[in-house]
């Protein structure tokens, strides 16, 4: 009988043993908390480590979760530098006063509206908001050029959006700063009343458009690019909106150095510098289908030039602090329970 007990017990004890030593040791490496996915930036960060000889340790996760983790860890956070997928998450840390100012020569490489007004973070690449549509069913001329048109009766029940998703929330914050809270709430409510379909994220929206479940979706341009890379036959296409429309907003990914960097602060700044070099910016343009924000690198060939949809000039650093109000507006519009 004892034999039967001890075998599984042994398995359990042995199972954990090899894992005990798998953490990275020592405090002599640059610790990066990355809200940007490993699939997207992993090899770029490895390049940085190789070229500079700085050893790195990267915790990948959701931008929002990592920002809250850094906030909870407080002064004891092992993190030296934060890569954010969205302006909202890094804006939150900025609002909590956890970022230190970047050197002017780093900041100056990107246009003023793609960095924090207090100089605490700098944008790296941009994802542009688009309307994704099903080209098998819809002609591009039928796709509206403003998100405000989507409340018209002809679009009833044909549009999808993701109210709980970070990128939609950032887009709404931008709309608020361009058009004010009242008009934003009006639009959100009108969308709900027009039978908009809600989804969990950009990917689910694009899939639904591809299946023909809905005709239009409010998403970031990236997801259609990635979908095309995996399945060139997919019928979805991106439609870029007029530049002065909130629906054409550019959401920046960003980097910021944390106040817990200590002895690693210099290496952290070197990472920020590296991510704005031509090499890194070209990587964003070719590997992640994103708009490069610095070094005069051209955007991916199938995207309109960054200034042709003249990107709305937004103070992105206002996004973090304003996120709570944005969420309240979305909640009050009833969209989330639609």
């Amino acid at each position: 009988m004892l034999r039967h007990i001890s075998v599984p017990l042994l398995v359990g004890a042995v199972a954990l043993a090899p894992l005990a030593g798998c953490g990275s040791g020592g405090g002599d490496e640059l610790v990066i908390y990355s809200g940007r996915n490993q699939e997207l930036v992993g090899s770029l960060l490895d390049d940085f480590s190789e070229e500079t000889g700085i050893s790195i340790a990267v915790r990948y996760g959701d931008s929002g979760d990592l920002a809250v983790l850094i906030d909870t860890e407080g002064d004891e956070s092992p993190a030296d530098v934060f890569l954010s997928q969205s302006p909202g998450a890094i804006g939150f840390l900025d609002g909590e006063d956890r970022l230190v100012e970047l050197p002017a020569d780093v900041l100056d490489q990107v246009p003023a509206h793609f960095r924090a007004s207090d100089g605490d973070w700098v944008g790296l690449s941009g994802r542009v908001r688009v309307i994704v549509y099903n080209a098998d069913e819809i002609d591009e001329s039928e796709v509206p050029n403003s998100v405000f048109d989507l409340t018209a009766p002809e679009y009833e029940g044909r549009v999808g959006l993701a109210p709980s998703n970070g990128s939609f929330q950032d887009f709404v914050t931008i709309m608020r700063s361009m058009r004010g809270d009242d008009e934003t709430l009006e639009w959100l409510t009108a969308m709900r009343e027009n039978g908009v379909r809600t989804y969990e994220n950009n990917i689910a929206i694009r899939e639904a458009v591809a299946r023909g479940e809905i005709d239009f979706g409010l998403v970031n341009h990236y997801y259609n690019e990635q979908a095309k890379a995996e399945d060139p036959d997919t019928p979805t296409e991106n439609h870029f909106l007029d530049g002065d429309d909130p629906g054409a907003a550019i959401l920046t990914t960003a980097v910021g150095v944390l106040d817990t960097a200590g002895g690693q602060a210099e290496n952290a700044e070197r990472l920020a510098e590296f991510l704005l070099t031509r090499e890194a910016q070209e990587y964003f343009a070719t590997e992640t289908f994103e708009y490069p924000l610095a070094a005069g690198v051209d955007p991916p060939s199938d995207l309109p030039a960054l200034d042709s949809p003249a990107s709305p000039e937004i103070d992105f650093s206002a996004l973090g602090g304003g996120l709570q109000r944005t969420r309240e507006l979305i909640r009050d519009s009833g969209l989330e329970s639609a």
């Binding site: 199972a15 990948y60 995996e230």
Partner: protein, 533 residues
């Protein structure tokens, strides 16, 4: 051993529990109480006024929807899990050995993958449509869809403890009943079912709590519950997220309280170690309809999602994605190690509480029970952040954050309820007579535990380990936050790929996760019972 059975109540000791046991119980409970302590501290100590926050969030409607879903799924999963357990342990259903491996597996499907795949399969333009040209498919959304999907994903919470109970249940009772001319159905209703109530309730409670904290599937299926507000506030707005989490915890505690009062009154039959002989009901004409039923369930819960995952993977292989086996081998080893390790830690640490609650009328045991069980009703991210909140105050936080200790701790706090409920069923199945006999022969307490009690509780404890294992292997939010930097599990691989639209890699990692779970479940819960019989 013989199969002599005398149904009696499980007797409890008249006096209090041994001091050592009580102390162990209190220490264990204190660790499990960290998330609750964090919620209370934030909501009462530092946050905006709790009542104001809750009123603004209009939480009653989402709470009502959460409870409706939890009740429906609890009933559905209990019926389904029990039926499957009986069919696979007590009948001559064809291919039982195979079904025993695959039937528990839906539990390992991360709900965001399972629900996403089911929607992708059955929606217009999806897999079923493109294969069979069925365009008139209903929309998969709302209460009915969420209930159905969650029932299919959670019935293993009932199936595993109930089939463990059936395994350790003496067949002689059923034999007698059948000798007296009762039909299999009557035997099931009057003899088997009453003996499984404890195990059934254990599973039902887990299903209920799972539904409280569930997020991925309900969001995909457009069913607006309390967790949505927690996740959409992203914890930036901790006043909202943590006050709603407190509501979840209080709901869980209330349900546990009611359940325990019920459990105390329940008559439990003592079971003696099973006979080597397996008695099976001859299904007769029902053999193939029963087989069809099992095929249908496994088909929807497992085969359809697997088909979708395989489609994603294939699309990538023939498309442009770069798939390499190496990407999944190391995460698979890590996942298996973490899962097995956590499972055994989780079974071991809650054992004192299982004894305290089942053997003694110990109030501290009941409190500990409530604290442990409520951990399952909280979102994983809340548990992870709560643990960081406390541990960061220790002088060696940076060192701790580089070990797997914190992660295993979080897993145990999150999933300890599963091993506890299974452990309570197991302790309830150990007849006091056997122990008394051992004691009268002068056998010490530790030796009694190892030589008498543990062997008798084996099936139940392993079922608990199996539940924790499957839950741990798919856990995501706490893993991302607390794993030592550089640790990759299959769940993080799936998330990494799927969240940015790399479906081929997400599909491959999911398939490996399901296959690995199958192997481990077989090793852990099926092979031992086959070896014995």
């Amino acid at each position: 051993m013989t199969a002599v059975v005398i149904p009696v109540r499980v007797r409890r000791f008249r006096g209090g529990p041994p001091i050592g046991l009580s102390v162990a119980g209190i220490v264990v409970a204190a660790f499990f109480a960290l998330p609750l302590a964090y919620l209370l501290w934030h909501n009462i100590g530092v946050g905006r006024d709790l009542v104001d926050v809750l009123r603004a969030e209009n939480f009653l409607d989402p709470l009502r929807r959460t409870l409706t879903l939890a009740v429906i799924v609890s009933f559905g999963a209990t019926a389904l899990g029990t039926a499957l357990a009986w069919l696979l342990t007590r009948t001559d259903l064809p291919g039982r050995w195979f079904w025993r491996i695959v039937v528990p597996l839906p539990l390992v499907m991360p709900s965001f993958v399972g629900a996403f795949a089911l929607v992708a399969a059955f929606t217009r333009g999806g897999l079923v449509d493109s294969l069979f040209g069925i365009e008139q498919l209903p929309r998969i959304e709302g209460l009915w869809a969420a209930s159905l999907v969650l029932t299919l994903l959670t019935y293993p919470y009932v199936y595993l403890p109930v089939s463990a109970r059936l395994e350790s249940l003496p067949r002689s009772l059923e034999e007698s009943a059948r000798a007296l001319g009762r039909s299999p159905r009557e035997v099931f209703r009057t003899v088997v079912l009453p003996q499984c109530t404890g195990a059934m309730w254990a599973g039902t409670l887990l299903v209920f709590l799972y539904c409280l904290a569930e997020f991925g599937a309900v969001q995909i299926l457009h069913y607006d519950t309390l967790t949505r507000a927690i996740y959409s506030s992203k914890l930036y707005d901790r006043d909202v997220a943590l006050s709603l989490s407190l509501i979840l915890a209080v709901t869980a505690l209330a349900v546990v309280f009611v359940e325990r009062r019920h459990a105390r009154r329940r008559v439990q039959t003592e079971a003696i170690a099973p006979t080597a002989r397996i008695v099976q009901n001859n299904l007769g004409a029902w053999r193939y309809p029963a087989l069809g039923f099992v095929v249908l369930i496994v088909g929807f819960a497992l085969a359809v999602p697997i088909a979708v995952l395989a489609q994603w993977t294939a699309r990538g292989i023939f498309g442009t994605a770069e798939l390499t086996a190496r990407d999944v081998v190391r995460p698979a080893i890590t996942t298996a190690g973490l899962g097995l390790g956590t499972a055994f830690v989780a079974v071991a640490v809650v054992l004192p509480i299982a004894f305290l609650t089942v053997r003694y009328r110990s109030t501290s045991g009941e409190v500990a029970n409530g604290v442990i069980v409520s951990g399952f009703a909280l979102p994983g991210i809340v548990i992870a952040i709560a643990i960081v909140f406390f541990v960061v105050r220790l002088p060696n936080y940076e060192e701790l954050s580089r070990s797997i200790g914190l992660l295993v701790f979080a897993y145990v706090v999150h999933f300890g309820s599963q091993s506890l409920r299974a452990g309570q069923v197991a302790v309830g199945g150990v007849p006091r007579r056997v122990e008394d006999a051992a004691r009268s022969l002068g056998v010490g307490r530790v030796r009694r535990l190892v030589t008498v009690q543990l062997p008798l509780m084996r099936a139940g404890l392993l079922a608990g380990a199996g539940l924790v294992l499957l839950s741990t292997m798919k856990e995501l939010p706490a893993t991302l936050i607390l794993a030592p930097i550089g640790t990759e599990t299959l769940a993080t691989e799936i998330w990494t790929s799927q969240s940015e639209g790399f479906f081929a890699e997400a599909g491959l990692a999911s398939l490996v996760l399901i296959a690995l779970s199958g192997v481990l479940t077989w090793l852990l819960t099926i092979r031992p019972s086959r070896a014995r019989s």
